[in-house]
């Protein structure tokens, strides 16, 4: 599969990365080079092979339903949550107005 400029533009839009014309044009052959190379995977016979789901055989551990059991993963820390915000407004994160 190879990508053209329009496809790269579409992908960039999906990834929310604004690309200038030049960047876009330069990206096309680079991505095609990488894609052509990864496509050798198609040679591998994967009949009956499950895609990897856990790198090391292990299953999901579930935690108890306790509020703020660990302060590192609990709430009640509005100042910490907002401390790096580009636009913190009255306890909210501010973003350009959205029309729904």
């Amino acid at each position: 599969m190879s990508v053209d400029t329009a496809t790269v533009a579409k992908i960039a839009a999906l990834a929310r990365i604004k690309l200038g014309e030049d960047e876009l044009e330069a990206m096309v052959p680079e991505l095609n080079g990488i894609l052509a190379w990864v496509e050798q995977l198609g040679e591998v016979d994967v009949t009956g092979v499950e895609p990897m789901t856990a790198v090391i055989p292990n299953t999901l551990r579930l935690r108890d339903d306790v509020i703020d059991a660990d302060p590192l993963t609990g709430g009640n820390k509005r100042d910490a949550v907002l401390s790096n915000a580009p636009a913190a407004e009255h306890g909210f994160f501010g973003v350009p107005k959205v029309i729904e």
């Binding site: 935690r63 509020i67 609990g74 709430g75 509005r78």
Partner: protein, 498 residues
């Protein structure tokens, strides 16, 4: 049930409806973090570093959320998948801090299930329809955007971000607004019985995505639209009505229905296209590499199953078969778990205070609750939950009727006094001297007077107009100010009228 048709200019149309219901899982803390889930907190106060998607933060799932989803699946007779996985649904929006929602696409926790609905709740034994449930998966809720606080900015509150939701996806099995309404009501009832969701639709604990398409009866499905986040049963029905006729208009006008996301406007009862979601969607789902496969063992499933309560259909059947209630009463009393719980407390109190078996007083309790108390509370404009009459107080009143201390009509007065004063039934009966009398002498005097005063009616009765018996009973009771034992009145009247 399925003969709902839209009359278009070119003929009849059938509407096809599928619902995706997002139900907030009842839990103390969020699906993947320890912050609280309570409604109405200060903005961004219930947000952890995990919920705000700070760099390097990781999700750890809450056992209770998984348990509640499994129990819900069991309650709708669904397949529970012992092996499931979480996937990421990738998209950009200000209410989605991670840039993806952790959800389940490929291997949901709960598979195929079903819900039985009745269209006419006056006739729960009437025709029923089974609505297929395709799946239930567990996922994160998003945060909330506020648009009216600032002229050029929207504000983001992440308190809801990461709260656990069950997405309950129906098959496109519904064919009318009423069926969809019945489905949502029934689903809500089940969730509340199970305790996996509080069902508070006005607080957003249950939201419906309504998928609607129209077709000529018998033809293949048409193109559907999805109207998002409709938050009441009535609005779901309005959405369908509006959307179906809009689609018919589009098609009959020579246009084609566009597959799109729409928004319901409760003010006008109409739907409109959601511009912000118009983007061609490509969610790039893939298994969340921060989470391992979720494997449930038999002990966990057993525990879920054992903790399931009696569900509304089973309860309704039991009320009919074991308590001898009418289908209608059984339906009313079991529709909501709180009503059923209240009724069962009332029944237990009545039976124990009257020294009788529950089945002996069940009809009386059911009738009193559904007509007397509901009527009184309705007038006061309060819910059963806020009722000043507790099941214990109600049981005391009903026991007084059951053991013959007061008559049914006196009980009505006593209830009014209880609501007025907050006193117990016993105290009121005592104070006001409302005890029913079985004093044969007094009753006999009253009967004699009634018969004498109504000689013409006595003639008619004797001439075959049997229906007048009730009249004499009523007049006697009236003369006795309702305190006469109706059995004694009956016997005496029968004697005297021959």
């Amino acid at each position: 049930m399925s003969n709902y048709r839209i009359q278009g200019a070119t003929g009849e149309w059938e509407v096809v409806i599928g619902l995706e219901v997002h139900a907030q899982v009842t839990s103390q803390s969020k699906l993947f973090s320890g912050s609280a889930t309570a409604f109405g907190a200060e903005p961004n106060s219930q947000v952890s570093l995990v919920d705000a998607a700070m760099p390097g933060m990781l999700p750890v799932p809450n056992r209770e959320c998984i348990r509640q989803a499994v129990r819900t699946g069991m309650a709708i007779d669904a397949q529970i998948n012992k092996w499931s996985r979480f996937d990421r649904k990738n998209y950009f929006y200000a209410d989605l801090p991670q840039g993806y929602q952790i959800s389940q696409l490929y291997h949901p926790l709960v598979g195929e299930g079903r819900i039985e609905i009745v269209l006419d709740d006056k006739d729960p034994e009437g025709s029923t329809k089974t609505i297929g449930i395709e799946r239930i998966h567990v996922e994160q809720d998003a945060g909330k955007l506020m648009h009216d606080q600032h002229p050029t900015m929207s504000y983001v509150d992440l308190n809801r971000s990461g709260v656990a939701l069950m997405e309950i996806v129906s098959r496109p099995d519904m064919r009318s607004p009423a069926e969809a309404g019945a489905y949502v009501s029934k689903l809500r009832s089940i969730l509340r019985y199970v305790g996996s969701c509080d069902g508070n639709m006005d607080q957003g604990s249950m939201r419906c995505d309504v998928n609607v398409s129209v077709r000529r009866p018998g033809e293949p499905f048409g193109t559907r639209t999805e109207t998002k986040n409709v938050n009441s049963v009535r609005f779901v029905m309005q959405t369908i009505e509006h959307e179906a006729s809009r689609q018919v208009d589009v098609i009959e006008g020579g246009g084609t229905v566009v597959q799109e996301t729409r928004l319901f406007d409760p003010g006008t009862g109409t739907t409109r296209s959601m511009r912000s979601k118009e983007d061609a969607h490509d969610y790039r789902y893939f298994p969340d590499p921060d989470l391992l496969p979720l494997e449930l063992d038999d002990a966990f499933l057993e525990d879920c199953r054992n903790s399931l309560p009696e569900l509304p259909d089973a309860k309704r059947h039991r009320y009919e078969n074991e308590l001898g209630l009418s289908a209608y009463n059984a339906g009313v009393l079991t529709a909501d778990v709180d009503t059923a719980r209240w009724f069962e407390l009332l029944l237990a109190q009545t039976a124990s205070k009257a020294g009788k078996q529950p089945a002996e007083v069940a009809k009386q309790a059911a009738n009193w609750l559904t007509s007397e108390l509901f009527g009184a509370l309705n007038k006061l404009g309060v819910s059963l939950e806020e009722s000043p009459i507790t099941p214990e107080k109600g049981g005391e009143l009903l026991a007084l009727v059951a053991d013959g201390t007061i008559s049914g009509s006196i009980a009505k007065q006593v209830l009014e006094k209880m609501l007025e004063t907050g006193d117990t039934a016993g105290a009121i009966v005592e104070r006001e001297g409302l005890k029913q009398t079985s004093d044969t002498g007094a009753i006999e005097a009253a009967v004699d007077k009634v018969l004498a005063d109504n000689a013409d009616k006595v003639e008619q009765y004797k001439g075959g107009k049997q229906a007048l018996f009730g009249f004499f009973v009523g007049q006697t009771m009236k003369a006795m100010q309702g305190k006469a034992n109706p059995q004694v009145v009956n016997e005496l009247l029968k004697q005297k009228l021959g």
